[in-house]
C-alpha cells in the first residue's frame, strides 16, 4: 500500500508538471506535441549535472543545480518550438514530432560523447548513473519514501493554479490561445505571450523529465527516450480540459492505476485475482477512456491553438 502511494505520487508529479506545461503552451495557442522531447532534454541536463557535481557537493546544491539545469534545458529546447512555430509559423504538429525525434537522437549522441570523453574512451554508452544525485532527493516519512521532486511538483502545482487564475500575465496568455486577434487589438504582444507559454512548457516539461528519470531510478538509458510519458501527459492535459486543478486530478487518477499495474502483486488480494499482469498494464488506459467518455461532452480546446498567428503583411 505504501508502495502504491509512493509510485502514484512519483508518477503524478511527472504527469502534473508536464501536463501543466502542455497546458500553458496550448493556452497561449501553440500545440506542444514536443513534450516528450522537452522531457528528454530536461532529464539529460539534470542527470549530467548530478553526474558532474563534485562528490562533496551539499545536498542542497545537488537539488538546486539539478532542478535548475533540467528547467533551463527544457526551456532551451522549447525555444526550438517557439522560434519555428511562432516566428516562422511552422506547422506545430510537425515541429513537435521533430523535436521528439531530435531529442532522443541528440541525447543518445550527446551522452555517448559525454561518457566517451569522461571515461577516456572506455565507456561509450548512452547511459548515466546518478545514484548520489538520486539519493540526495530522497527522504522518508515513516516507511513512505518521498523525494524533493514531489515537494517541488506540489509547490509548482499550487503556484500554477494561482498564476493561472489570478494574474495579469495568465489572462493575456489565455486570450492569445482563444482569440489572438482580440488580444492583438488591445495591444497585447501575441508573439511574446506565446513565447512565454511555450517557455513555461519548457520549464515544466524539463522538470518533469528529470523527475521521470530520477525519482524512481538512479540510472537512465537515454537511447530509450522517455517511452511515451510526454504523450501521456498530453493525454492528461486533454483529460484535465486545459485547467490546472482538473489536470492534477486526472494525473492522480491515471498515476494511481498505472502504479497499481506495477505494484499489484504486492497487494495480496489483487495478486490473487486471476488477472494477468498485462491486463493490469492496460487498466490505466481503459479507465481513462471510460472516464473520458463521460466527461468530454463539454470539453473544448483553446480555440486558436494550432493556428499560427500572423499580424498581417508587415
Amino acid at each position: 500500500m505504501v508502495l502504491l502511494i509512493q509510485y502514484t505520487l512519483i508518477f503524478s508529479a511527472v504527469l502534473i508538471l508536464v501536463a501543466l506545461g502542455g497546458m500553458f503552451s496550448e493556452r497561449s495557442g501553440i500545440i506542444n506535441l514536443g513534450l516528450e522531447g522537452i522531457m528528454v532534454f530536461g532529464a539529460m541536463a539534470g542527470a549530467m549535472v548530478m553526474v558532474l557535481l563534485p562528490s562533496d557537493a551539499s545536498r542542497f546544491t545537488i537539488i538546486a543545480l539539478t532542478l535548475l539545469a533540467a528547467a533551463v534545458a527544457g526551456m532551451l529546447s522549447s525555444l526550438l518550438i517557439a522560434v519555428a512555430c511562432i516566428n516562422f509559423k511552422a506547422d506545430q504538429t510537425l515541429i513537435g514530432t521533430a523535436l521528439n525525434m531530435l531529442a532522443t537522437a541528440s541525447a543518445t549522441v550527446i551522452i555517448k560523447g559525454f561518457n566517451t570523453a569522461r571515461s577516456g574512451g572506455t565507456d561509450f554508452s548512452a547511459k548515466l548513473d546518478y545514484v548520489r544525485g538520486h539519493n540526495a532527493f530522497m527522504f522518508n516519512i515513516g516507511s513512505l519514501q518521498l523525494s524533493w521532486f514531489i515537494v517541488v511538483a506540489a509547490v509548482l502545482l499550487v503556484v500554477a493554479i494561482i498564476f493561472f487564475y489570478k494574474t495579469k500575465l495568465a489572462l493575456r496568455i489565455r486570450a492569445c490561445g482563444e482569440h489572438p486577434q482580440a488580444a492583438d487589438s488591445v495591444g497585447i504582444n501575441v508573439y511574446a505571450m506565446r513565447y512565454i507559454g511555450v517557455l513555461m512548457s519548457g520549464f515544466l516539461g524539463g522538470l518533469g523529465g528529470i523527475i521521470y528519470i530520477a525519482a524512481a531510478n538512479s540510472t537512465w538509458h537515454f537511447d530509450y527516450g522517455v517511452a511515451g510519458a510526454g504523450f501521456l501527459a498530453l493525454a492528461v492535459m486533454i483529460f484535465g480540459q486545459w485547467k490546472p486543478e482538473r489536470i492534477a486530478w486526472s494525473a492522480v487518477l491515471f498515476a494511481l492505476f498505472r502504479s497499481l499495474s506495477n505494484v499489484y502483486m504486492g497487494i495480496g488480494f489483487l495478486h490473487a485475482l486471476p488477472i494477468s499482469g498485462t491486463v493490469y498494464n492496460m487498466f490505466p488506459y481503459i479507465v481513462s477512456l471510460i472516464v473520458l467518455a463521460f466527461t468530454s461532452q463539454n470539453s473544448r480546446a483553446p480555440k486558436a491553438e494550432g493556428v499560427p498567428y500572423d499580424k498581417g503583411a508587415r
Binding site: V2, L3, Q6, Y7, I10, F11, D123, F124, S125, A126, K127, D129, V131, R132, Q145, A215, A216, N217, S218, T219, H221, D223, Y224, A227, S259, S261, N262, V263, M265, G266, S276, G277, T278
Partner: protein
C-alpha cells in the same frame, strides 16, 4: 580509412588465398551486434570489449557493425557490409545470428565467423544441420552458473530469493532455471525447503526502469532478501530497490560486485555473480585463429561449462572467488560444489521448456513488460 572501392578489392584479395594459412596481417576483425547496442552491459558489450582488446593488442583492424533493426535481413546486410569493407573475421554474439549464418556462411567460405551463444538447436531451427568449416560457435552452460549462485545463496542462509531475468531468451532462462535448481538442492540439503521461496519474473527488457523497480520494491518490501538480476542493465532496478531495505543482489555474466558497489556506494550489495567466460572465449579463439589453429574450431559447436573439478578458475562458468564475501558458504564449499558438478554427482537440467519441479516454493510472476 579505406574507401569502399579498396575494401571491395581487399575482400577479393583475401578470397584468393586459403583462409587457414593466411598471415595474421591479412585478417581484419569485425563484430556485429544483435538487438542490443555495444553498451548493453551484457554479451554485446563483453564481446565488443574482448574483441577490441584483442585487436588493439595485435594491431589488427577492428570495427563493429550495428544492424538497422532486429531482423535476419538487417543482420545479413551488416555482414555483407562488413565483408565488403574487407573484414574477414566476423564475431557475432547471440542466438539470433543463427539465421544469418545459415544464409551467409556458405557463400563466403573465406570469411571466418565466430558465433557465441548459437546452439545446435538454433542452427537447426534456421535450417542448417552442420556448420561449414569457416564457422564455429560457443554455447555456455549458464544453468551451471545459475545453479552455483542459487546453491551458494541458500547455503549462505538466504531464504527468500528472487530471480529477475531480462527477456526470456534461452541463455537467461537457463540461468534462471539453474538458479531455481540450485536453491532447491541447497534447501533440500539444509532441510528447510518449506521455508525457502523464490520469486521469479522476466522484465521483458535488458534495462531497468521504474516499473521494474516498482516490482522489485514490492519483492524486497515483502521480505525478499536477495535477487539474482540476470540480464544486461536490468540489475539497476534490483539494486535501486535493494538499497532501500538493505537487500542484496547477485550479478551475472561477469563479476559485478565492483561495478555495483561503486555505483550504489553500498558495500556488500552484490553477494556474488554467476559468471560465464565470454571474454575468455573470444580472446582464446582469436588467438588460436591468428596462430593458425583454426582447425581446432572449424565447424564445431562447443558447449562450454566446467572443465576442471579442482581449479574452478579454469572453468567457463564460475562464481568469483576474488571478491568472495559469503561467510556461511565458503570458497572451500564452492570448490567442493564445483567438484561434484564436474564428476556428475550433481546433475543440472539444461532444459528451457518448463520450470524445474522443486520442493521449495517458486512464485512465478507475469512478465513486467
Amino acid at each position: 580509412g579505406s574507401s569502399s572501392n579498396d575494401s571491395a578489392s581487399d575482400a577479393t584479395a583475401t578470397t584468393e588465398e586459403g583462409a587457414a594459412d593466411a598471415a595474421a596481417s591479412d585478417k581484419k576483425i569485425a563484430m556485429i551486434t544483435d538487438s542490443g547496442d555495444i553498451t548493453d552491459m551484457s554479451f554485446n558489450q563483453t564481446t565488443y570489449e574482448a574483441s577490441k582488446a584483442f585487436a588493439e593488442k595485435n594491431g589488427v583492424d577492428f570495427q563493429y557493425y550495428k544492424p538497422t533493426e532486429d531482423s535476419d535481413d538487417a543482420r545479413i546486410a551488416s555482414f555483407e557490409n562488413a565483408v565488403t569493407d574487407g573484414y574477414n573475421v566476423i564475431i557475432v554474439p547471440g542466438y539470433l545470428f543463427a539465421g544469418m549464418i545459415a544464409q551467409c556462411a556458405a557463400d563466403y567460405p573465406n570469411v571466418t565467423i565466430i558465433a557465441l551463444d548459437c546452439s545446435q538447436g538454433d542452427f537447426e531451427g534456421a535450417g542448417m544441420t552442420e556448420l561449414p568449416e569457416n564457422v564455429c560457435s560457443f554455447t555456455y552452460q549458464e544453468e551451471l552458473a545459475g545453479y552455483m549462485a542459487g546453491y551458494a545463496a541458500v547455503k549462505e542462509g538466504y531464504k527468500k530469493l528472487g530471480f529477475l531475468g531480462g527477456m526470456a531468451v534461452p541463455a537467461v532462462i537457463r540461468y534462471g532455471f539453474g538458479f531455481v535448481q540450485g536453491c532447491n538442492d541447497a534447501a533440500v540439503e539444509l532441510g528447510n525447503a518449506s521455508d525457502v521461496e523464490v520469486n521469479y519474473v522476466y522484465g521483458g527488457q535488458f534495462y531497468g526502469d521504474d516499473a521494474i523497480t516498482a516490482q522489485m520494491d514490492t519483492w524486497y518490501s515483502n521480505g525478499t532478501e536477495v535477487v539474482f538480476a540476470c540480464g544486461g542493465g536490468i540489475y539497476t532496478s534490483a539494486c535501486e530497490a535493494a538499497t532501500k531495505v538493505d537487500g542484496k543482489v547477485i550479478g551475472v555474466d561477469v563479476d559485478q560486485a565492483g561495478t555495483i558497489e561503486n555505483a550504489y556506494g553500498v558495500e556488500g550489495l552484490c553477494i556474488t555473480s554467476a559468471m560465464k567466460g565470454l571474454a575468455a572465449t573470444v580472446d582464446a579463439t582469436l588467438t588460436d585463429l591468428f596462430a593458425g589453429n583454426w582447425s581446432n574450431y572449424a565447424g564445431k559447436i562447443e558447449n562450454l561449462g566446467i572443465v576442471s573439478g579442482t581449479d574452478p578458475s579454469l572453468n567457463y562458468v564460475q562464481l568469483p572467488t576474488d571478491t568472495w564475501t559469503m561467510t556461511n558458504f565458503t570458497v572451500d564449499d564452492y570448490k567442493a560444489l564445483v567438484a561434484s558438478l564436474n564428476d556428475g554427482t550433481i546433475k543440472v537440467s539444461n532444459s528451457t521448456d518448463a520450470m524445474p519441479s522443486t520442493e521449495i516454493t517458486v512464485k512465478e510472476f507475469d512478465n513486467i513488460h
